[in-house]
């Protein structure tokens, strides 16, 4: 039995990783979780310079999920390389660096800096950032803008590039095809779904930013559907995420077409959840007589 998967020629000891922004750079959880057990550690979005993020409150609980409007606070690429990437050298796992920016140029600069870093296995490009040159519309909600940024990043990147798709679009298949056509090596989805919550007694928005991204089990059926549609629209591998809370959920995403999966909000509820999911996948494979996860990936 083999839990390993291969994505863009990179070997993952198992298909389970964290979703960006829910696990810091692993440092915050390394006392609770053995990072060596994970298929990969995916770091919090990093930009060219430090970002302040949004005012608080930045998070709100919702039914079986949460809203967040962190605003991509991050310490900037210099500190990230010196501190976070250096820290991750102590672990035997793949490192996927999530990148954000306000313009194509900013993304490219970060990607160029990362080209020099030898413990970065893959790049994940978060296109749910506001494009300041295009009126703040996210790169990931317009196929043309998505193609443009994918091409620019691919040209500068040394590592394989995962384009992380936003679910806030009419056709996820169209976005998946646009990214593939522009040269993306893989896709990951879904990012959070834009939502809002109002405190009716205080007559106020729960989040200072008014809107935030919904994540957690509440979005899982939407995510499974989108992973299915994206995976069937392209030939490049897909990393699935959105509300994964158990091994069964992870396998559901794989059957829908994901080659690997990421766990986000549920790390907050149970820091041991990723290792429990890895164990659960092994048990499922044993029970079902599955030798290799490729046997079930995209079977539907």
């Amino acid at each position: 039995m083999n839990t390993a998967v291969e994505i863009c020629g990179i070997n993952f000891k198992n298909p389970v990783m964290n979703a960006s922004g829910t696990f810091g750079s692993g440092m915050e959880y390394c006392g609770l979780v053995d990072l060596n057990r994970l298929g990969a550690v995916v770091t919090k979005g990093v930009a060219k310079v430090p970002w302040e993020g949004n005012p608080t409150p930045r998070v709100a609980e919702t039914a079986s999920g949460m809203l967040n409007a962190i605003g991509l606070q991050n310490p900037g690429i210099d500190v990230f390389i010196e501190r976070d990437l250096e820290f991750l050298k102590n672990y035997d796992t793949n490192v996927i660096v999530n990148v954000c920016g306000h313009s194509v140029g900013e993304y490219v600069e970060v990607v160029q800096r990362l080209a020099e870093c030898d413990n970065v296995s893959m790049l994940e490009i978060n296109v749910s950032c506001p494009n300041v040159h295009e009126g703040g519309i996210a790169f990931g909600t317009d196929p043309g803008a998505l193609e443009e940024i994918t091409k620019a990043v691919k040209k500068a990147a040394k590592q394989p590039v995962i384009m992380k798709l936003s679910p806030n679009v009419t056709s996820i298949a169209e976005m998946a095809k646009a990214a593939e056509a522009a040269g993306a090596d893989a896709l990951s989805l879904i990012n959070t779904i834009t939502g809002m919550k109002i405190d009716i007694y205080k007559r106020r928005f729960l989040l200072a930013n008014r809107t935030g991204g919904l994540s957690g089990p509440a979005i899982r059926p939407v995510a499974v559907r989108m992973v299915y549609e994206a995976a069937h629209a392209v030939k490049i591998p897909v990393i699935g995420m959105g509300g994964i809370a158990s091994a069964e959920d992870a396998i559901e995403f794989m059957m829908a077409g994901a080659s690997a999966v990421a766990v986000g909000m549920m790390n907050f509820h149970n820091p041991g959840i990723m290792t429990e999911i890895i164990d659960g996948i092994e048990r499922f494979m044993q029970e079902q007589g599955i030798d290799d996860l490729a046997e079930i990936t995209g079977i539907l």
């Binding site: 915050e28 608080t56 907050f268």
Partner: protein, 262 residues
């Protein structure tokens, strides 16, 4: 820091809407006053941990005392816990009260407003244990009729000054009014309570040129510094974030009042 199922050892109903419990957990081994834990509800609809401060620590028996006010779904569920029940706990989290900065302080003021009082009990017990005697505790409550929870326990360790919103016990007003009417001039303050009170403490400390340590609250998702949900504006670039933002769950919840913009 550990994540485990703690066992409820005894439950207390301390006042109207105020409950307490001792939880058996190995998190007690490394816990300090001012730190907190995150408690999970049993509901699959309410998935974020609820941050609750550590009120008291019993290292020998490996238990933590928590005291909470029913404020919504989770704290209501906790109020119905029974002895022997298990509850998912993550902790201890954050930094406790800095008592090293006490050296030389002669008059210590400890100020708790409402549900801000519990974390100060462990602090006062620790200060008392180190032989410090000039500790004045100022506790603010809604009303005598709702119950002056924990006041008697503070009285065993320090001089207690009460304030109530309706004047039914002690000074009519806030803990700052109680400080005023005590005629004391503290040279250090430790405080926990609602934001308007903490703003008042910060202002008092700045006007009187004394240090104040305040325990802050913010909505939290992870409790361990990973999500960046719980930040407070700081007066300097934070060493971790490299912006003027510190994580309340990790760099706090206790901050030097002069360092934060509240």
């Amino acid at each position: 820091m550990i994540s485990e199922k703690a066992v409820v050892e005894n439950k207390e109903h301390l006042a109207e809407g105020i409950y307490g419990a001792w939880l058996k957990t190995s998190a007690a081994r490394e816990a300090h006053p001012g730190q907190f834990v995150m408690l999970n509800t049993k509901s699959e609809a309410h998935l974020l941990g609820r941050p609750i401060s550590i009120c008291d620590i019993d290292r020998d028996k490996e238990r933590l005392r928590l005291v909470w006010r029913v404020a919504g779904y989770g704290t209501d569920e906790f109020s119905r816990l029974e002895e022997g029940d298990r509850i998912e706990l993550l902790g201890p989290l954050g930094n406790g009260f800095d008592i090293d900065s006490l050296s030389g302080a002669e008059n210590i003021a400890v100020m708790g407003g409402g549900i801000g009082a519990p974390p100060l009990l462990g602090l006062v017990r620790q200060l008392h244990g180190t032989g410090l005697k000039n500790i004045d505790v100022y506790l603010g409550y809604r009303s005598a009729s709702a119950g002056l929870f924990l006041a008697d326990e503070f009285k065993e360790l320090a001089a207690v000054h009460i304030a109530t919103d309706d004047g039914t016990a002690g000074t009519h007003g806030t803990v700052l009014d109680a400080l005023d009417s005590s005629g004391k001039a503290p040279d250090i303050i430790y405080a926990c309570g609602p934001m308007p009170m903490l703003k008042g403490v910060k202002q008092y400390a700045e006007e009187n040129l004394i240090p104040a340590y305040i325990s802050l609250e913010e909505r939290m998702a992870c409790g361990v510094g990973a999500c960046l949900g719980c930040v407070v504006k700081t007066r300097f670039k934070d060493a971790h974030s490299r912006v003027e933002n510190a994580r309340i769950c990790t760099e706090g919840p206790v901050f030097a009042a002069k360092d934060v913009d509240i």
